[in-house]
Symmetry: C2
Subunit: 404 residues, 2 copies
């Protein structure tokens, strides 16, 4: 920046204040719960089964405006939860999973927008899932939980959004599995959303994507503690779950980002163990990630959620991808990342073709990055820039729907 | 081809004959064994430990010529063995793993060349490995087997080649791990090889490559049957080994080849299981591959061999990749495959730079293919063409070393 006059930075950090009192933090937040689909009116599922009652754990940030035009729904990724931003207590050292993006002055500016995020059904962070009590039996569902699809998850999200008064959302966004849900939502409820921001997502899982899920699930199913899914009264299948997570982490990083992060750095370059101890940084990283995951995630949820992702195939569901978006009316900001090899830009471009075929208004942003799939959590500056601008424009447009 | 006159095809298949009597087959072959490094003269290893006696299972095809100038050593990949070509008996329905390339009139023409392949040390197909009897204890080595490197494997191969009278090899070749050994060999014994044909290989394992190995090994180590490696008297850790193999198979295929092979084809498209049964072809393929592997491979060998691959890093070992090849004198035909994402062409090009920096004679062939890493086993026609020509030229050059 030219000029000597100091520019006041609206996002200036205040070193004298704790994280939850920073000007750009949503502060201390509390997870809330909404229960619906109570029998005798359970929610129908794609499988033909029903689920109910359903509880969704959710958080909201900001306020719904008078015209109910400023609501944004965030769909989390496979291992995410409702806790997007802020801190749960003053003892909480880790903010929500997308805190970099949600707060006063951030991409999803909570002084302007009303932001909602909920844990998906089949999840394990407060929403109804395999670890919940099956009302019919009084025991945990475990494998009696019905197999759900991403569309089923969206149905439940929609019920929550309606409950919160946001019958028409300004925007829906999410990365990875969240992005898949965004696409489903825009097709299932075309009149209930003004704009969507799908990030790092394909329109269907490829055979390779399914293959990675197959191996992760196999590790869980083969864990002797798995016990057909009934492990809640004993040791959980944590070794299998950790292996599934280790494998997942490989797919989230690019080879470039791995090289930058770990290189082939030995713990002690001069002293190879010549054993099966930890010789490489990448080994200890993956082992730590696998282990840490078992402390916060339920193996059955991992099975159900990855299965829902396997089934995701908009072209298969609607005949073709162009047919899928024929019903959609949302304005689209589609974002992919150059080094994302799990859901690469080539797959985003298939979505672009389908949007174009239907004359939908869209912007496509391919972000150059070395972070791989994880870039949707890490490319804060670029995402903030493109999303802030898009939302500001779409918000003013949503407030004046008659405008061209 | 123009012209009406029928061209006699030297490779004409004879439908009246069984596979082992086809004109281009090496026929019925027998695995042989060579034992060396007997105490008190065991072979020193990179780790500082020693190994001996060492038995190598090997096969040879064709005849060593009078000047001992026509020997070609083939180094197998991770799950390979000494049985490259032909059949072990008239009941044998599967030929050796590179039968498409080795035989009369094939790329490695056994009417011209003397072809050798041996199972690596630490392997489980006849060579000394963790399942072998430890002479000091009378019990199986299991985890008392020393950790070996690819260079150690090459030392043992070299001893076998010398024993067979092929002190200077016309060529050394191999794909994947075999290609890594080819590179090591050309640097360790620069005067003992005329030409090398490394295929689908990097000059070091990347962090991502190590990461895949880490997850596969973890699945084995965590298998409750693993028992610290002492499972030979009980059920082996086959669930862990199968998971490791499933994961490996994902890395051997390209996303393109997976799409062609499986698409997202459901077993029954109209009838999703909505369960954790097999809904996708790729699931049953991987499960079959994993299961079949446990019937022929030893889990401890998988640990030791992948560990040897992890340690492979020519730049780390010699200071830089250019320094590594400073000692090499072989003429090089380097081959990579466009869709190989495990060891992609970008990594082959690092080798090219190092060869060029040292003024070595090389040809680099990047084969356009959709087969991914597995292409080194599948791109028979292209490989045959480039390798046949290269070998013919180098053989005549080797016979007249004074030629320019």
């Amino acid at each position: 920046m030219a000029g000597d006059a100091p520019q006041p930075d609206p996002h200036l950090q205040r070193p004298d204040l704790p994280p939850w009192q920073q000007p750009d933090s949503v502060g201390i937040v509390q997870t809330q719960y909404h229960t619906f689909a109570e029998p005798p009116h359970p929610m129908p599922l794609d499988s033909g089964a029903t689920l109910g009652p359903i509880t969704l754990a959710y958080e909201t940030y900001g306020q719904l405006d008078e015209t109910r035009s400023n609501a944004i729904f965030i769909c989390h990724a496979l291992s995410g939860d409702a806790h997007v931003a802020g801190y749960h207590s003053t003892d909480d050292h880790r903010p929500g999973w997308w805190d970099a993006m949600v707060g006063p002055g951030k991409a999803f500016d909570t002084t302007r927008y009303f932001v909602i995020c909920a844990n998906c059904i089949a999840g394990c962070s407060g929403s109804t899932g395999p670890a919940s009590i099956h009302p019919a039996t009084g025991r945990r569902y475990a494998r009696d939980f019905p197999v759900v699809t991403l569309a089923d998850m969206v149905r439940a999200y929609k019920a929550l959004a309606d409950h919160l008064g946001a019958r028409k959302l300004l925007a829906i966004t999410g990365g990875s599995m969240g992005g898949m849900q965004v696409l489903e939502w825009s097709i299932m409820y075309p009149d209930a959303v003004h704009a969507i921001i799908p990030i790092a997502t394909p329109a269907r899982l490829t055979a390779q994507g399914i293959a990675f899920n197959v191996v992760g699930r196999q590790a869980i199913l083969d864990d002797p503690h798995y016990n057909g899914g009934n492990y809640y009264d004993g040791p959980p299948p944590n070794t299998g779950l950790a292996i599934a997570r280790m494998l997942g982490h490989i797919t989230y990083l690019s080879d470039d980002s791995m090289r930058e992060k770990f290189g082939r750095q030995l713990r002690d370059r001069e002293d190879l163990s010549y054993d099966f101890g930890v010789d490489f940084e990448v080994e200890s990283y993956l082992q730590h990630q696998g282990q840490a995951f078992t402390e916060r995630f339920d193996a059955n949820s991992y099975l159900y959620i990855t299965r829902a992702v396997d089934y995701f195939d908009l072209a298969g569901k609607y005949g073709s991808l162009a047919d899928a978006f024929a019903r959609a009316r949302a304005r689209v900001l589609l974002i992919s990342f150059t080094s994302d090899w799990l859901y690469p830009p080539t797959q985003a471009k298939e979505i672009v073709s389908a949007l174009r075929a239907n004359g939908l208004h869209f912007a496509y942003c391919e972000v150059p990055t070395r972070y791989g799939h994880d870039a949707f959590l890490l490319e804060k500056d670029t995402l903030t820039r493109v999303i802030s601008d898009f939302l500001a424009l779409e918000y003013s447009r949503a407030l004046r729907p008659e405008a061209p």
